[in-house]
Amino acid sequence: RLAERLSETFRTLSGRGVLTEGNISDAMREIRRALLEADVNFKVAGRFVSEATEKALGGKVLKSLTPGQQVIKIVHDQLVELLASGSSSLHFTGSPPHVVLLCGLQGSGKTTTAARLAWWLARKKNRRSLLVACDLQRPAAIDQLEVMAKKAGAGFYCNRAVSDPVLVAREAINQARLQQYDTVIVDTAGRLHVDQELMDELVRVRDAVKPEEILLVLDGLTGQDAVNVAVKFQERTGFTGSVLTKMDGDSRGGAALSFAAVTGRPIKFVGVGEGIEGLEAFDAERLAGRILG
């Protein structure tokens, strides 16, 4: 555990609670390794450690803490500050229906998130959602969302006769108005951030429905590649935040720090299970502790 590793680093320290350049740099090597093991992108980890080093060197001594505890506190607080940037809640302004557009890589958890989000919005915000099946590519994607919508008690819209998701999205908005849904959640096909055609399609879907919220659904098991995905999706969609999934596993979740550091956007929700209740509002303190291990 990091606390143990740091206490080992500081074991030979003779002074009382004073951080020197030498022992700070030893500690920061352990911190950087811990961040890398947690899947934080190596460039993000490098910058993070430089910034923490400056804070440690410039800071005043906290006499109640051991040197190791002081370093951990500096690192923990900096981590929370980075993760908590931006508002973690959903923002719906103007008249309904309000649209949430989900996007992300293949298998990240979008379809399941659509249903879980509808459930969460119903329970916590008393919202009535229409789930829209705009993945016309994956076999049985429409069926999957339809089953999940039923489980969530949400409305469902699809059009199996067309091949253009933009068309489905537009029709769904009209349907939402007619049936007075206050929220529309659009599920899209998984796509690679480097697939120009599919990224163009995503932008067309976005422009057709003008979402209040665009959420990148990011697999919590992702390693170094998280920065590439985050940057490319942000360039094309200008998303408002992300959902970090599969965090009921034992992944440390460093992809979250990578995401926050390179996009400056908030993580809004965390996926903690496959069931309809498996979505929680994001908690920066909890995630910071998990990343540091």
Binding site: G107, Q137, A141, L192, D219, D225, A226, V229
Partner: protein, 272 residues
């Protein structure tokens, strides 16, 4: 970069970054950086050639047991969304193209529309599929599928299972049970158990392999989604550490987007 001759500090620094970026992890990266200069000077190799030798040397060889059981039964396991169902379809397509009478079975009776997804692949590829309604015992589906394959003279059976995270002991127990039940349906089956991993997976790859290996005997690894920008280095590191060979890689969502693992190509692409 990586010219011939003695590797300089700048080249080594760039290499270290490339290995970290490929998800090799800091431990294996340090090992490579330590072993590489000596190997390059000893064998008179440039940095890139030396790297290829070191990396290839770290990969366990595929050691499929001898014998030609009919049907040869393969069980596919892995975490949620890693690409198992699509892998079952792609491997079945490969075997059918080689002239083998192939059956696919959906032992994922948990996730919404799992059976429908594999059934659609069966229609698309003209390969028969065994499915059962959501909530059926997965062992029962696997048992029936293998028994039917034996009775009807199939050459290959691919059994799809539900995604699960390796820290869920109950779900790993369920997987062990499915494995046991397949063995009751046909002695010696399943003959292959492949763990499917997403190419963009981070250091959790090690926990995934450890968890799944504790539940079922893994014979090989499949890395999917290598058509993205991820390099699959965490799977490489895990294969090296646990001695499990990488056997197939996935490079797209189509029925033909899977190929036999090529260590030369893979290790070459690791540092881009």
């Amino acid at each position: 970069f990586f010219g011939k001759g003695v590797p300089n500090a700048a080249d080594m620094a760039m290499l270290e970054e490339a290995l970290l970026e490929a998800d090799l992890g800091w431990k294996l990266t340090e090992k490579v950086m330590t072993d590489l200069p000596a190997l390059c000077s000893k064998q008179g190799l440039g940095l890139r050639e030396g790297l290829a030798v070191v990396l290839r040397g770290m990969l366990p060889a595929n050691a499929d047991p001898p014998g030609d059981p009919r049907p040869l039964v393969t069980m596919i396991v892995g975490v949620n969304g890693s690409g198992k169902t699509t892998t079952v379809a792609r491997l079945a397509a490969m075997e059918k193209a080689r002239g083998f009478k192939t059956l696919m079975a959906c032992a994922d009776t948990f996730r919404a529309a799992a059976g429908e997804q594999l059934a659609l692949w069966g229609t698309r590829l003209d390969i028969p599929v065994v499915t059962r309604p959501e909530g059926t015992d997965p062992g029962a589906v696997a048992f029936d599928a293998v028994a039917s394959a034996v009775a009807r003279g199939f050459d290959r059976v691919f059994v799809d299972t539900a995604g699960r995270l390796p820290n869920r002991k109950g779900l790993l127990d369920e997987l062990s049970k499915v494995h046991r039940v397949i063995g009751k349906s046909m002695e010696g089956a399943p003959h292959r158990v492949l763990l499917v991993l997403d190419g963009s997976v981070g250091q959790n790859a090690l926990q995934q392999a450890g968890g799944f290996a504790s539940a079922v005997p893994l014979t090989g690894l499949v890395i999917t989604k290598l058509d993205g920008t991820a390099k699959g280095g965490a799977v490489f590191a895990m294969a090296h550490e646990l001695g499990i060979p990488i056997v197939f890689i996935g490079t797209g969502e189509g029925g033909g987007d899977m190929s036999v693992f090529d260590p030369v190509e893979f290790t070459g692409a690791l540092v881009g």
